[in-house]
């Protein structure tokens, strides 16, 4: 066996995940598990009314409850001076305050009004029950496209916090010239991320050295630290944010919440007493960020041959009661307007998007941000266009896809697409699915009987790894384009990596180790990765918009290469060999033409740290390096899904018979992690398409307040998914493209498309439930 075989690259192979030994044996370290001396527990008092003035808060009863040590309200001197203000430089954006605990008025049912500190969570809840809050009700606005009676925020009398029109070409002229014009009015269903571990935090303040430690189940510890420093008026270095093992995030935990800030403020008011808050599922459904409560009014024009000529759209996104920190009310509407046209070529486009405040829980980032809705909208136009023109819907899509020859393609929203792999994904998906077989089965059932089958298709682009030129977020005060990584070779030759990533279960510890092992030339098993602790590693923005494999992976690769260069230079000096003839593999340095290693990395490291007497002239001791990486633009990732569903017109029952997804993840670092990301995101997409719906009644009460009514798909509902790949490496150090979100983008379109194909009914409102199917068939 040659050394090259023995030390095959870790990337591209399903190495054992580093985190699994602890996660699979119940030894994970979650915030929920944390117990500190003198720790007390917090329960929030939440508003039962959607909109109202607070006319009185009486905490006396709560303070009498056994075990209760403190009660905080929005007027408490420790809390009152602070407010979160999500900022954006977008013209016309209305900036508003979000208090840590409601002050003066409540803006949604579930908003935290007071917080009770007690010896345990049971007692804290007993105390919370004893807090009496008086409200003078105001008329709530629940629907983002209804006239408000009492605005949510004084600053925005029409509730519109942000609006923007994307314009390219001359859409009206293009519509005039179209052979057919189709109109659709669609709404998508509010739902949310619902990670297994809800939000959680422990805050501890040491007054003597003014140090705040905040253990938080966050996806973005660095952003949290910067923002806490601003809000709490502490030097940034005095704040340590630790995100240990985190049980799922999906975007919900990429937000700094008022509860987080309240917890830190209360801890500062109670120095030396760590305060713990673990959100329960009822709170999560009520007050963690929601998403996807949108309306699309659409018009599209097609030429007779199926060419898409024009898209005109009016979009309302329900922002909820507050502009979330730091992403603002722009998070969904701007993504919707920027990506609506998806993988299709188009020159004439006009789209007005709005983020509208309502008396509902705030909307925030959720896996796929807005695009599950926009892909549904765009694919609905494609299907309607195909029906109007009498063309095959897949052929119509092909006619309009951005092709490799078009790359780089400037979308009408001016985003630059570097993918062009859409047709390759669609072709492979159609072939894998065996479209002809399913079409044959469809017609067989039409003639011989049996539940009608429909075939649904969704083609999409996932915007991943956004660099500074296309940074996530609407002109916020910071740009999320870069990340950093430090690679340190220890004196024993093993490697510790300090990465800016965070992980909520998606295996970043493993992925980063694979990348560094290969860039450096050591065994995967010799690389340990530290992350999620702001005192332990360098800057990293964290997990959102499918960015970490591209950006943090790029930084890890560059840092690995850099340190490899240093190690080889030192080896060359020690062995008096030309550095260009040396190679580092499996932790051993080889000389060209020789079979045996000439020196081990361990020995090189020993010299670097412990034997400065052997260090050649001009060599600094130590063996580590730090690199930042910013892809400047980003990597578009193409994907296509196609599925066969059957519908029982008598009951509305929906059965998924086959589901195929093909994505372009570029160069794949860990095949099982990538397939897991795709499968999990399709499952969440199916949840949104068929089950998950956060429903408010007209008074602004959440009707789906527990998992008895908010239905998430279980393993029993998700079919065997057939996942395939095409690979066009991205232009970044590791050649990857992000895969965290793509799977969520198509299921709305696929399920709605299949229903229309099976039964000839157009579904305009999601989710597609048995009841809705039945109502559409039996109007």
């Amino acid at each position: 066996m040659t050394p090259t075989d023995e030390h095959a690259p870790a990337s591209g192979t399903p190495v054992r995940r580093k985190e699994d030994a602890r996660l699979l044996t119940g030894r994970g370290r979650f915030v929920s598990d944390l117990a500190l001396p003198r720790m007390r527990h917090v329960a929030f008092v939440r508003s039962p009314v959607a909109h109202g003035r607070i006319t009185g808060v009486d905490t006396a009863g709560a303070l009498e409850v056994e075990g209760v040590s403190a009660v905080f309200t929005g007027e408490h001197p420790a809390i009152a001076p602070v407010a979160l203000r999500a900022q954006s430089g977008l013209p016309g954006y209305v900036e508003t305050d979000q208090p840590p605990l409601a002050r003066g008025k409540v803006r949604f049912a579930g908003e935290a009004v007071a917080a009770v500190v007690a010896d345990d969570r049971y007692l804290a809840e007993d105390g919370a029950e004893a807090v009496v809050v008086d409200y003078e009700p105001l008329t709530p606005t629940v629907c983002a496209w209804a006239e408000p009676e009492h605005p949510v925020h004084e600053e925005a009398p029409d509730n519109v916090l942000l609006s923007r029109t994307f314009r390219a070409g001359d859409v009206d002229a293009a519509l005039d010239g179209a052979a057919v014009v189709v109109d659709r009015e669609l709404t998508t269903n509010r739902h949310g991320g619902n990670p297994i571990e809800c939000r959680a935090g422990v805050a501890r303040y040491e007054a003597a050295d003014r140090k705040l430690t905040f253990w938080s189940g966050t996806q973005v510890p660095w952003i949290v630290r910067t923002q806490l420093a601003e809000l709490l008026d502490l030097p940034e270095g005095n704040i340590r944010v630790i995100a240990p093992d985190v049980g799922g995030g999906f975007g919900v935990k990429a937000v700094l919440y008022p509860e987080d800030v309240a917890l830190c403020l209360m801890a500062m008011a109670m120095p030396g007493t760590p305060l713990k808050w673990v959100e329960d599922r009822v709170e999560h459904l009520l007050a963690a960020t929601h998403a996807r409560d949108h309306r699309y009014v659409l018009r599209a024009g097609f030429a007779a041959d199926g060419e898409l000529l024009a898209v005109k759209a009016d979009v309302w996104c329900n922002t909820g009661a507050y502009s979330v920190y730091p992403w603002t009310a722009g998070i969904e509407p701007l993504m919707a307007g920027g990506l609506l046209t998806g993988p299709y070529k188009l020159t004439d486009y006009e789209c007005t998007v709005r983020g509208v405040a309502t008396n509902t829980s705030p909307s925030g980032p959720y896996r796929g941000v807005a695009r599950p809705s926009t892909v549904f909208a765009m694919e609905a136009l494609m299907d309607s266009g195909a029906r109007a023109l009498g063309l095959d819907p897949i052929a119509l899509r092909r006619r309009n896809l951005i092709l490799p020859a078009d790359i780089p393609y400037k979308m009408p929203s001016r985003l630059v697409d570097d993918s062009g792999a859409y047709e390759a994904c669609l072709d492979k998906a159609v072939a894998t699915f065996d479209l002809d077989r399913w079409r044959a089965e469809q017609s067989r059932r039409r003639t011989e009987g049996g539940r009608p089958i429909g075939i649904g298709v969704g083609v999409y682009n996932e915007l991943t790894g956004l660099g500074r030129a296309a940074s996530a977020g609407p002109r916020m005060a910071f740009r999320t384009g870069h990340d950093a990584c430090t690679v340190r070779i220890n004196p024993d030759g093993a490697v510790t990596v300090f990465s800016g990533v965070t992980s909520q279960g998606q295996g970043l510890e493993t992925t980063m180790a694979q990348v560094v092992a290969d860039a450096l030339g050591v065994d995967y098993g010799d690389v340990e990765v530290r992350y999620g602790d702001t005192d332990e590693s360098l800057w990293g923005f964290g997990a959102f918009s499918s960015r970490q494999a591209v950006i943090s992976g790029g930084a890890a690769h560059l840092a690995g290469e850099h340190v490899r260069g240093r190690a080889l230079a030192l080896a060359a000096a020690l062995k008096e060999a030309p550095v260009e003839d040396l190679d580092l593999r499996g932790g051993e340095v080889y000389m060209a033409g020789q079979e045996k290693p000439i020196i081990s990395l361990a020995e090189v490291a020993r010299v670097a740290y412990l034997q400065s007497d052997r260090l050649p002239e001009g060599f600094e001791p130590g063996l580590e390096g730090t690199k930042f990486y910013d892809p400047i633009r980003g990597a578009f990732a193409a994907g296509a899904q196609i599925a066969a569903l059957e519908f029982d017109p008598a009951t509305g029952e929906i059965g998924i018979l086959d589901w195929v997804c093909v994505e372009d993840a570029g160069r794949i670092v860990h095949p099982v992690i990538v397939d897991g990301q795709i499968a999990g995101s399709i499952a969440q997409g199916i949840g949104g398409a068929m089950y998950e719906h956060l429903v408010y009644d007209e008074d602004g009460n959440l009707s789906t307040g527990t998992l008895l009514d908010y239905l998430m798909p279980t393993a029993g509902e998700i079919p065997e998914l057939r996942i395939g790949h095409v690979s066009t490496p991205g232009k970044n150090p590791t050649g990857v493209r992000g895969v965290g979100e793509g799977g969520t983008l198509a299921p709305n379109a696929v399920v709605a498309g299949a229903l229309a194909d099976a039964l000839g009914v157009e579904v305009d409102d999601l989710p597609v439930t048995p009841a809705r199917v039945w109502e559409l068939v039996n109007p």
Partner: protein, 278 residues
């Protein structure tokens, strides 16, 4: 989502449990499998002073067939009911309850006492015209299925009473059909159908405050084989007889349609599950 304060008594016998309930003066609550009560407590929708845990009371998990009636102890788990062959309708219905973890803890009497109108076992008890045996401070009594269910989550049990056993007559033929949103969910609509001689009892779950016994008039008396036409007529009659309300999971119209479908399916099954003469 943490329980309000209560004191806890682990009962060692039925008498002990009944005494503890009596001592609580109406403010006691029995805990059996905990699969319905614990969530209710966690949401603070109930605030009993005393929890009387009967889960380990011995001798309440028997299953015995006598004179065509299955006598089941209060603590028979859904899993045991699903696994027995003495009462195939009860077995089939129990398989539809929740998931394995829930079925291995939840109990027959717990489900009946909880009286969820969408639950499977109350519908079966009613379809079979069964009864529960109840112990209370003033002795024991027997409550027939038609009297046990009073309203949504309301039974005819007094606060100081405990179900000790259940009578489930074994039908000559049976059928069960259910429509739920996901595997293991409570039914949107379920139908349990049982035939005793020439008498047919069809009970619909999920359409009213209690499992609804369909009043099919003369149609409920059957003679010999039930024809396909008769199935369709009975299904339509069931749909006519129910008066569901709109809710999150479907309109009244939809539930009525499901009632017809599920009744037809249950009756079709019933025509193929005739019990062998003993």
């Amino acid at each position: 989502m943490k329980c309000p304060p209560f004191s806890y008594h682990r009962a060692t016998s039925v008498d002990d449990a009944v005494a503890a309930l009596a001592a609580a003066g109406g403010e006691g609550k029995i805990l059996a499998g905990g699969q319905s009560l614990v969530p209710v407590l966690a949401l603070r929708l109930a605030r009993p002073d005393v929890i009387v845990d009967v889960d380990r009371v011995p001798g309440l998990d028997g299953l015995e067939l006598r004179d065509g009636v299955l006598h089941a102890g209060a603590l028979v788990r859904h899993l045991a009911l699903a696994g027995q062959a003495l009462h195939p309708l009860a077995a089939e219905a129990a398989r539809w309850i929740g998931h394995t973890a829930i079925r291995s803890r939840g109990t027959l009497a717990g489900s009946l006492a909880h009286a969820d109108p969408a639950a499977e076992l109350p519908a079966v008890l009613r379809a079979c015209d069964g009864a529960v045996h109840v112990a209370g401070p003033s002795g024991t009594r027997r409550i027939g299925a038609d009297d046990l269910f009073v309203g949504a989550l309301q039974s005819a049990l007094e606060d100081t009473e405990m179900i000790t056993g259940v009578e489930l007559p074994v039908p000559d033929a049976w059928g069960f059909a259910e429509f739920a949103r996901r595997h293991g969910d409570f039914a949107v609509v379920s139908v349990a159908a049982a035939r005793f001689g020439d008498r047919l009892r069809v009970v619909v779950g999920g359409v009213a405050g209690v499992p609804h016994l369909v009043d099919a008039g003369d149609l409920a008396t059957v003679d010999g084989e039930i024809s396909e036409d008769r199935v369709a007529i009975l299904a339509a009659a069931a749909a006519d007889d129910v008066d569901p309300a709109d809710d999150l999971h479907g309109s009244a119209r939809y539930r009525r349609a499901l009632t017809e479908q599920m009744t037809a399916r249950a009756l079709e099954q019933l025509t193929t599950t005739v019990r062998e003469p003993a």
